[in-house]
């Protein structure tokens, strides 16, 4: 009974992780969603004796969990022979081969960052669709954040100044 529950829960857990959207997949691929990877480990032992339906469900769930992780990494790698497409988006043969390579490496236990590092070593930084947060690139990431923070401060200053100099009294003065 309890084993059955565990197997079902594992399958359910894996399935739930799959239902996650694009950015959740990203996070899963970055290793913050261990449920997806632990599902195949717990499912076979539980299901071998009791519930084979749950077993196959968990297995295919684990398979598609790997697919999802592969897709998440593939979305961050540039297809070398296309126009700015990721290898996930591109239907080209090379992109297909690269996706297989990503999958194999993930299956072998590499982390998404390790897989990406491998492609960088082969193709250079250019292969990453999102530049790494190092060196000069940090400026690229800091810029939008500083822009919004600085902009908000600037707008706050303007509103304060412009409401302060208002000659005509507002109909109902704003509460602090």
């Amino acid at each position: 009974m309890s084993r059955r529950t565990i197997a079902t829960l594992a399958a359910l857990g894996a399935a739930l992780c799959l239902a996650g959207p694009a950015r959740a997949q990203d996070r899963a691929a970055q290793g913050t969603a261990p449920a997806a990877t632990s599902a195949p480990a717990s499912a076979p032992t539980a299901a071998g004796t009791s519930n084979s339906a749950a077993n196959s469900a968990a297995n295919s769930a684990a398979d598609s969990a790997l697919d999802e992780r592969t897709a998440a990494v593939a979305r961050t790698l540039r297809c070398p022979v296309c126009q700015g497409e990721s290898i996930q988006a591109s239907p080209s043969e090379l992109a297909q081969q690269m996706r297989t390579l990503v999958k194999d490496r993930l299956r072998a236990g590499e982390s998404p960052d390790q897989v990406r590092a491998y492609f960088v070593s082969k193709y250079g930084e250019w292969i990453l669709l999102e530049p790494s947060m190092t060196g000069l690139n940090k400026l690229l990431y800091a810029f939008p954040v500083l822009l919004v923070i600085g902009g908000l401060a600037f707008v706050a200053m303007l509103v304060r100044r412009w409401t302060g100099t208002a000659a005509s009294p507002p109909p109902s003065p704003p509460a602090p």
Binding site: P91, E125, L129, L147, W162
Partner: protein, 656 residues
Amino acid sequence: MTGLLAQGALLVSVVVVALGVVVTPVAIRTGRREWLQLSYGAVYTNFLLVSIATGAMLVALVTHDFSVSYVAAVGSRSTPLLFTIISLWGALEGSILFWAWVLALYAAAVVWLHQRRPGNLVPYAAMTLLAVSAFFAILLVGPANPFLPVSPVPADGPGPNTLLQNHILMAVHPPLLYLGYVGMSVPFAFAAGAIFSGEAATNDWAILSRRWMLGSWAFLSAAIIAGMWWSYEVLGWGGYWAWDPVENASFLPWLTATAYLHSVMVQERRNMLRLWTLNLCVATFVLTILGTFLTRSGILSSVHAFTTGTIGYYFLGFIALVLLATLVLVAGNSDKIRTAGTLGGAASRETVFLLNNLFLTAVMLTVLVGTLYPLVAEAVRGVKVSVGEPFFNRMAVPAMVALVFLMGVGPALPWGSTSWADARKRLMPGVIGAVLLGAIALVAGARAPWAIIAFAFVGYAVVGNLREYWIAMRARHAAHGENYVRALAGVMSANPRRYGGYVAHVGILIVTLGIAASATWRTEREATLVPGERLTVSGHTVRLKDVWGREEPQRSVIGATLEVLGADSSVIGTITPRMNYYRVSDQPVPTPDVRSSLKGDLYANLMAFEQSGRNATVKVIVEPLVPWIWFGGGVVVLGAAIGMFQRGRRLAASAR
């Protein structure tokens, strides 16, 4: 012969345009206003001459006159007539010619509609448009001459880029884009004219240019949506936006134009943000030219990078000239233009518009810097880097989501000022929509925080905008006893600008919903099927019927017919992704097929096939709510069209 005629017309137009530019300041400075007719005549003559050149190009294309260099480059006897005609904008030189023609058309329309207006604004605006025309005329007789003679004359040509002759949307997207892009030269011309004439110290010029910007904005919005649709229908990856440099290039002026359409309201109402609004006009124009430079010069790789050549330097020089000139002009006159800002209170629509302009500018600069960064990194570090979709999703999308929220806040708050208690009362109803849509997204399985926030904000803003109609309709119902349908029509016609704006808001929200839903719940599977085999993707099952081939004059077509199965395994439809092999290219063009419903699309792309027809590899994607994006785009255009009617005219018409 046609080539010579067209070249002659273009050469004459360079002279005419140059004379028109010179005569304007002379006429105004010396007080000989009758000379301005020469300048206006130059505008009309330029339109005539560029029309002759464009007409000659169409004739050359349709008659397969391969002695004309552009036809030799993009023409082919086997290309269907429609695609032969639209190959006018299918490559660099033709697209510059088409640009010049649209610009000449706009300039003629501006002079035609506004030349009786007193003052020096319109003459200087016409002069500015002529100066921009001069740049394009020089390109057409110089580095982008489409009419060079070819000898010996080839018997046939390669035909247009295969990607560009594969879908009918290529007849729609580029003209819309040019009408939008080039139309944004008009507000710029008014801004420049305002500075030259000293009218920048008033608000009249901004009111005059508003409708030109709104119309161009509507064209550009439609063009962006049509471009997304084309990408979705042709490129075979099942997506519609990849943050490709060219997509970014079309998005940048859209953002500043949107900011202008909001800031100009503050300028009109409160006589402030004058300098800022003017700068937005200039920025929008510069971004259209910059976008063309980035994508046409080949400096950034893109589907739209036609050639590499000297044309990039011309664009760079022109951008530098425009920036330098406007910098000097604006800086020199900023004291006259600037006005002291006053706000009734912090809780007001004006404040929301300031935030709206902030976030639109922030998104614009983020996308601009991200797009240009690879050039910077290569120059500074000597390393090639890419800035693609994941970067923009992370860094630009949050500010866009914030804008969705502001779309619900702005309409709810009054102009001037209100108490915080009243503001709270006005802002509360939207929360119901936010909770509702956020909860629906959560129950449907959305887990990404940004997605849930986006859904909640869409819900908030939908309620915020619809409530404005409701309040106005109820007031009319109570006051005149009109039924609600009549009341809605009355609300629209009494203030088309405001309520058209809300229609555009709702359109953007529908687009946002489509994007958020498809990004969240898109599922795809790829499989190699033998005939009779099934593939199920998130509840949708297809079965491969057969793989077939067909010969057409300009291409061979390989297709896979997939039967879409209903719940009881009965066939409820078919979907036939194809691969088109054009004679002129080794690369096949994927041609996905889409089955649409209100709930979303079933999208199939043929990835590979066995020559014998034994099997086919297909990618099947379930794309929730994607058709909403196209529909929402239509609503945006409708809203802008309503907003084009100005209050006075509408009232006069309805008074009969």
